[in-house]
Symmetry: C2
Subunit: 295 residues, 2 copies
């Protein structure tokens, strides 16, 4: 029987593995670790890198448990319960504007009343879209999903399009990826099958990111690219602070603020009514919409 | 009888006056104006300055009307109605880190079912707190409030402490100011009295700001001050995107996004778990709490 403890132990291994690979990739930066405890139960390992190429990144593990606040139980459609939740969350910001922002999350949730489910996803936010990178990223995700279930990629890709979306801008956060939630009892797959899929998603993260990173981290760029990078990062802030469910949940439940907000980019600019140049309109803005078939 | 039209006309004069004074204060920057219409009724005059000293500022007027969305009517405790709302909103960001961010808003709201009220406020967000500036700012506000009603300053000052507060940081946005809402039928004052008070608040804005600006815009500063300025501006973004009711209302009701988000600062930085230096802890961080009696 797969317990929250088993899942958490596997997630810790995932965190260790990704951190050690990312340190090699950056070449200089090392993760600093902050261990924290949650007064109501559980805690986490927040790991932050401020490297030469990955200028701001977080690879966080947490495993928290305790009594579920009533409002949250209600929101999830559950009876009052004791819960246990564990996950790994990653956001990486790179110096080079041709290296995208990437986000990954895998999570597991269970209650003492017998509910359990997995969730997660990976999505890519290029500051400057390079089509072949978006295509290979989506192909890689499709391979992972195909191993799990036929049709899963299409479903989870659409889910990501809808989730990583900024309504007030009428644009997607980036070129999407996959997003899924509540893979649990109502699915036809065994708990072990779902667990294996989620671990595969997590383990695919490093290869998907490093493939793009290695191709782009030495690309030459101008002041104009940096300015555009910082403006686009502003949209990342808008999404995370206004819409992201994980961030909102964390802020509302008195989570560890620095671990939650590690996702925010290092330098950001806001301009009134900034319009992209023709170049950026063509290469990037025009791809920030739902329903693009990258494969 | 004072109508929404009368109030709006007076607010336009206020906007004109403030813009022309701020242009003189900056010495180089001129406001650019965007006129906009709201498909459901009404519109506004958004005015933006990117000057030499006031590097990003907005002085916005709007007057919108139409059918009130049911959810919003419910939230306000009102029957379904036709509404009219007009206001002036200002946020100014300066180059010099010793010049605070300032925010001012005056607004009037009425329905065809006979409800009406005024709201507004002014608050100051120093990146580096200078006590004498905070004191003179609060003294100026007290003078305006004293003309309206004994005890008004204390009440509206406390309201601002509670409103301009970032729960997840357990800190206030800045050194506060005054905030008030729903000054209307339930108050003992006449509509004209309240209107005059609100206009006085609006007209006091320029003097309160320019007093501080003139003292501080030439203060020498270091790279360290700029870094701190950008980190503190990050908190301004956190407040505005996560908590500010006006911003949330605007985003949820499909308002004019660029006018709403003109409040965001020009350059911002986020660092993981940044701790203020002893200097900034002493001069600034220690003042970011509720209940300080500045006068």
């Amino acid at each position: 029987m797969l317990t929250a403890h088993n899942v958490a132990e596997r997630f810790k291994i995932l965190q260790d593995h990704i951190c050690s690979e990312l340190e090699k990739l950056d070449g200089v930066g090392l993760f600093q670790e902050d261990l924290w405890k949650r007064p109501e139960g559980g805690g986490g390992r927040t790991r932050i890198i401020n490297g030469q190429h990955i200028v701001k990144g977080g690879v966080n593990f947490s495993h928290v448990h305790g009594v579920m606040p009533e409002t949250i139980a209600k929101g999830l459609g559950l009876e009052p319960n004791q819960f246990s939740a564990t996950g790994v969350s990653i956001v990486l910001h790179a110096r080079n504007p041709f290296v995208p922002i990437i986000h990954m999350n895998v999570r597991y949730f269970e209650t003492d009343t017998g509910s359990w489910w997995f969730g997660g996803g990976i999505d890519l936010t290029p500051l400057i879209v390079i089509e072949e990178d978006a295509v290979s990223f989506h192909q890689g995700l499709k391979e992972v999903c195909d191993q799990y279930e036929e049709g899963a990629y299409a479903e989870f890709k659409e889910w990501a399009d809808n989730y990583f979306y900024i309504p007030h801008r009428n644009e997607t956060r980036g070129v999407g990826g996959i997003f899924f939630d509540r893979l649990g009892q109502q699915n036809e797959r065994t708990k072990t099958d779902i667990f294996n899929y989620v671990v595969n998603v997590g383990e695919s993260f490093y290869d998907l990111y490093s493939d793009i990173f290695i191709k782009r981290f030495q690309t030459e760029y101008s002041e104009e690219h940096i300015k555009w990078q910082r403006l686009r990062r502003g949209r990342y802030v808008e999404f995370n602070l206004v819409y992201d469910r994980g961030t909102k949940f964390g802020l509302q439940t008195n989570g560890r603020i620095e671990s939650i907000l590690m996702s925010l980019p290092p330098q950001v600019e806001y301009r009134y009514d900034y319009r992209p140049s023709k170049e950026f309109e063509l290469t990037t803005q025009s791809f920030l919409k739902k329903g693009i078939s990258w494969i």
